[in-house]
Structure formats: C-alpha cells, structure tokens
Amino acid sequence: MNNQAGYNFAYLDEQTKRSIRRGLLKAVAIPGFQVPFNSREMPMPYGWGTGGVQLTASILGEDDILKVIDQGADDTTNAVSIRRFFEHTAKGIDTTTDTAKATVIQTRHRIPEYALTEQQIIVFQVPIPEPLRFIEPSETETCKMHALEEYGVMHVKLYEDIAHYGHIATTYAYPVRVNHRYIMDPSPIPKFDNPKLHQNKALMIFGAGREKRLYAIPPYTDVHSLDFEDHPFAIQQWDQCCHLCGSDSSFLDEIIVDDEGARVFVCSDSHYCQQHANANNFSDNAEVHS
C-alpha cells in the first residue's frame, strides 16, 4: 500500500476531478457562494488541507508549476508534506518556492506578498467555510440567510466587538462581501491580507474538505471587508521591520529568541523575505528587540 505507482495523476481519479471542476465552475459563476462538493477522504487528515489538496489535484496538469506554503513559508512541515504528496502523485509537474514562477499556489493562512498575475491560480485551505457559523450554528438557517441576503446579524457581531472592546475584534478570517452580494470567509488569512483579495488578477479558489464546500473569487472581482463607516477596516501594522530583510510593509512573524523573551520580527512570506534581502543587500547586523 506504500507504492504510489498505482494511483492516477495527482491521486484523484478523473471522475472525481471532473465533478470537482464542475463545482468550481459553479463557484466561479457565483462569486463567494459556497458550493457543496463530494469531498473524499485523502491520505492526510481532514483539517490538514484536504480541501485545498482536492482542488489542486483537480486542476493540476503536467505542465503546471506548483508552490505550496503554510503560514507564508515553503518549508513549514505541512507545506513540505503536501508538496511532497504532489511530487509523488503528480509525476511530471515542477515545484517551486518562487511565487512568480508558480502557476498554481496552494496556501494555508496567507496570501503571498508579491502580487499575483492573470496566469496564476491560488488555492486556499479553509477550515470553516461559513462566515455566519459562530453566530448561527444551523446549516439550514445559514443557507437561507445567504439565499435571502439576510446579513444584518453579521454587523451585529461587529457592533458587539466595538461595544465591548472598542474595536472590531476579528483579526483573521475577516468576513468580506464578494461582488456586492455574498458574504464570505476568506479562510484564516490575517486581515492584513484582505486588501489583496480586492480586484486580484489571479483566480482565487477555496476548498473546505471536511465541511465539503468550495467557493471562488474570479479575477478582477470587488471584495470589501465588512466594517462601519465610523470604524473603517484597517490592517495591522508593526513598529518593527523584518530582521532579515528590512521590509516595513510585509506581514511579520514574532520570534522569541531567548529565555528573557527577547524577540525579533521576521517576514512570514519566506520567498519574499529572501528576494527582498538579496535585492537590498540587507545587512545582518540588525538589533534584536527585547
């Protein structure tokens, strides 16, 4: 059973791929709408990217160049595991860490810093596709709410946040309105990445394997983050720059470097960081922040 040779290209059989692609076409036709699909058990557990993997498997061709990232980096363990999976099962494809070179990018929790192009497809791994889920646990009811555009309750949640915390307390998986119609969960990307969704040149597709839903934002679609007029949507900012490349405009990870809690900040997007450091001949004598 360890022999991968007996599997179809990219693991899934052609029937399954076709049925997922049909779902994707529907999703592209109705931006932001969650299309149910027949999700299969995959060799990695539900919750670990099976939705993203099924979508990628359904669209990969032999000429594709695949990049897989998790938390923005190519070599986090799960990204490594998924990339290997495709290297073994999709013989002939190339893999890359270079954002610009990839034709398909599978990602968990981040959008790359470098802007995407019309030639690219980005596949998001989604844990909970339903933006209303934590306000309304019933699927029957949330389906109705989407169908009838009953989204008042979404703003109730934002109102509550401001009432209790003074700010909208959602910092990731920040709900957006797609094409002025459906409210969508963009997956647990930090809200820092939300602006990248708006009018993106690439096709963005989202897969939730365990919940069996897929959705899409076609290129050049309007995507707006929910907010109030007097509490407008704002992205995170850091006082520090990246310790490795000096960037002051990318999303930074906080890293604790010693027992006393000294910390440095480093770009989450590993490829961007490398490129930026090279391009700017960044010195590595930067101070460690405590």
């Binding site: 027949n38 058990e41 363990t77 290997r84 998986a173 990307i189 820092f192």
Partner: protein
C-alpha cells in the same frame, strides 16, 4: 543573531524513522502478524471495517498493525484506501431473514420461534482478568459445543424476525415504503436529510460518540422507551444484479450484526397507536455499536414523529455533523499545525486593547484623585 529556521523536510523524514522504530518495538519479541490480528483481535478488525466503511478483514488488520492498535488511525487508513477504489455498482438489498445465524436474541419475548441463541458473547462472562491468557495457557472455558447447529440458515432454525411478528399484528409502524436511497459518499448531505442518509452516516460514525448519545436518551435527554426487539449476528450473502445477465451474481458472504429496537409508540386521533423502531447495523460483530446506532436512529426520528427535539441526540445537524471520527480527529488534531500567523494577529490586538485598558484606568485614577481632592464624591 536570528537565522531563519529551515529543515522541515529532514525533520519529517526523521520523524517517520522514529515512528517505524516505535511501531516495531522490541526486536527480540516476535513481530505481530497481520493474520494474528485478523484472527485474534477480530472485534478491533470489525470496528475498523465498520467505521472505515470497507469490508476487508485483512486490510483492516493491516491498518491496525500499521496504526499500532489505534483504531481511529486505522479507520482513517481504511477510509483513505477506500477513496482510491473504483465503484462498479451497488449490491442488491440484503435480507437478513436469510442470515446464517451465529447469534440471535430478543429482549421482548421470553421465548421466540427459533429460540434465544447466545452465540459467542461476552455477555455473561465475569469480567475477571484471565491470567492464564497472560501465561499463554488454555482459555478459561473449554466446554464448547461440538455440533454446528448454529450454522444453519435461519429458515431451517425457524427464526422469523420479531419485527415481522409485530408487523403481522399491525403493531409496528410501516417502514417498508419504496424510497430512493441517497449515497452519502457521492453527494454531501444537506439538512434536513433523509433517513437513508442518516443511517449511512451513523454506520460509519464513531462508536463512542453514538454510545454516549444513546446513553443520554436512556437517562432522560429525550426518551424513546427502547426495547431490544432482536439482535442478530451472522453471515449474509451479497448479490449483485449484472446488466448483461438475467440473473444476479453472488459475490460471497460477509458477517454483519443487526439490531432492531422497538420504541415508544405513537398515534393520534386519526391513527391507532403503533410501536416505532430504531435500526442499527455493522460489519462483523459490533453489537454495542448497532445498539447505540438504533437508539440514535430512533432519536433522530423525533422531529418527524412530532416529538420534542431538545435533547442532543434528537438534533440532526448536531449528531450528523460531529459523529464521523475521521473528520473529528482531523479537525481536533489540526490544532497542532502552525497557527502563528493568526496568533500574531491576536497578539497585536490584545496588546492594543490592554494598552487602552490600562491607560483608561490611569486616566480615571487621575480624575478620581482630582475630584476627591476637590471634595466631591467620586462616581
């Protein structure tokens, strides 16, 4: 000076190596054979087949070996394997009246045609650890019946189904209408769903979860007054109709367990009271599973029977969304994956909120001091 961490690939490879070592254990001890697991840990094998949704005892035994005995992990292995298998059709419905019985009991009648066949059950054993097994000696009971009476098909033993008997008297709600049966592995279910869909979901559901839910209905979280009408375990033939042939082809036998519960009767001014029922089934001999499943099945019928759906076991979406242990363990365990980007966002927010909280406090402290100095009452 901080250097970006690399080496995820190497770490994974090493982890695989460590896993293989741990799985094998002490090399001086004989390696466990898949055949040994299949033969001597058959109840584990049966559970893995049932929840893995694949009848193949050897593969289930292999999965258990590979998973170091972790049933949920073994179930996942079998399900993942199942995904790769081509589907070439559906069998004809199995009629358990023709079961080649190994066990058959009913709690609703003292005696029934065909009798109460206990079969190979733990039921009346005393739960005393058998240290002779530890010493590899002979098992405790060795006065096994030598005849193979219990291998006769049901008709020869005259074992009509208890449910049929009740049906004949008109005491059971009619559940024999023709329905189109959905296939949950082809179409994701939508709520509210049909009974055939939830039954499929319950068969592959986690036994522990169903057990607890079933238990809750017995303790007052909903109430369905269950009686074990009949529990059967034995072998049934799987047949398949082939388009090009005029007759059905037998694919062989499988062992299954079936439980039919008789429950709280319902009726109203228009209809005479009748018993309702719950149904459970498994591959192999997963009796506890079938009983729990039957309790939950009946509980899920509460809505259509006009009963209260307050109790957790009666709530369709709650039960069916959370009963699959492959989904559940995947999502629970995914918390181990890196979440530091999102955590970073939360850190930033909480720091900001705390800053604001403390600076507001400082402000109000100053105000309080000022006003009390001025002689006014504060607040």
């Amino acid at each position: 000076m901080y250097v970006a961490v690399k080496g995820g690939e190497k770490a994974i490879d090493n982890a695989h190596g460590l896993l293989a070592k741990r799985r094998r254990g002490n090399k001086d001890i004989a390696q466990l054979g898949v055949d040994q697991i299949q033969e001597q840990l058959s109840l584990a094998v049966d559970r893995v087949m049932t929840e893995g949704s694949l009848y193949d005892p050897e593969l289930a035994a292999l999965a258990l070996k590979q998973a170091m005995g972790d049933c949920v992990e073994a179930i996942f292995l079998l399900r993942a394997y199942r995904t790769t298998l081509p589907r070439f059709g559906y069998s004809e419905p199995v009629d358990t009246r023709n079961m080649r019985l190994q066990r058959r009991i009913s709690a609703t009648y003292k005696d029934i045609p065909g009798g109460q066949l206990l079969g190979p059950t733990y039921d009346y054993t005393h739960r005393l650890l058998d240290f002779k097994l530890l010493a590899d000696g002979e098992p405790y009971i060795d006065n096994l019946p030598s005849s193979s009476d219990i291998d006769l098909p049901a008709e020869e033993l005259h074992c009509p189904k208890v449910m049929d008997l009740l049906h004949a008297e008109g005491l059971l709600q009619n559940t024999t209408e023709q329905v189109t049966v959905g296939d949950i592995t082809r179409e994701p279910i939508a709520y509210p769903c049909k009974r055939s869909e939830w039954l499929q979901t319950l068969v592959r559901a986690d036994e522990g979860f169903l057990l607890s839910l079933g238990y809750s209905t017995q303790r007052g979280y909903g109430r369905t007054h269950p009686f074990a009408g009949e529990i059967r375990m034995g072998y049934v033939e799987i047949t398949m109709a082939i388009d090009e042939l005029d007759f059905s082809v037998s694919l062989g036998e499988i062992c299954i367990t079936e439980c039919e519960m008789i429950n709280q009767f319902s009726g109203n001014q228009q209809q005479p009271p009748q018993f309702t029922q719950g149904y459970g089934i498994s591959f192999g001999f997963c009796e506890r599973k079938t009983m729990a499943m039957a309790l939950v099945d009946r509980s899920l019928q509460s809505k259509s029977l006009g009963e209260s759906t307050d109790s957790p076991a009666a709530q369709e979406e709650f039960v069916l969304s959370h009963c699959d242990n492959v989904e559940a363990s995947g999502f629970v365990s995914h918390l181990k994956l890196p979440h530091y980007v999102d955590f970073q966002s939360e850190l930033a927010l909480i720091r900001k909120l705390r800053e604001e909280f403390f600076s507001k406090q400082t402000e109000s402290d100053i105000t309080t001091t000022l006003t009390s100095k001025a002689g006014d009452r504060s607040e």
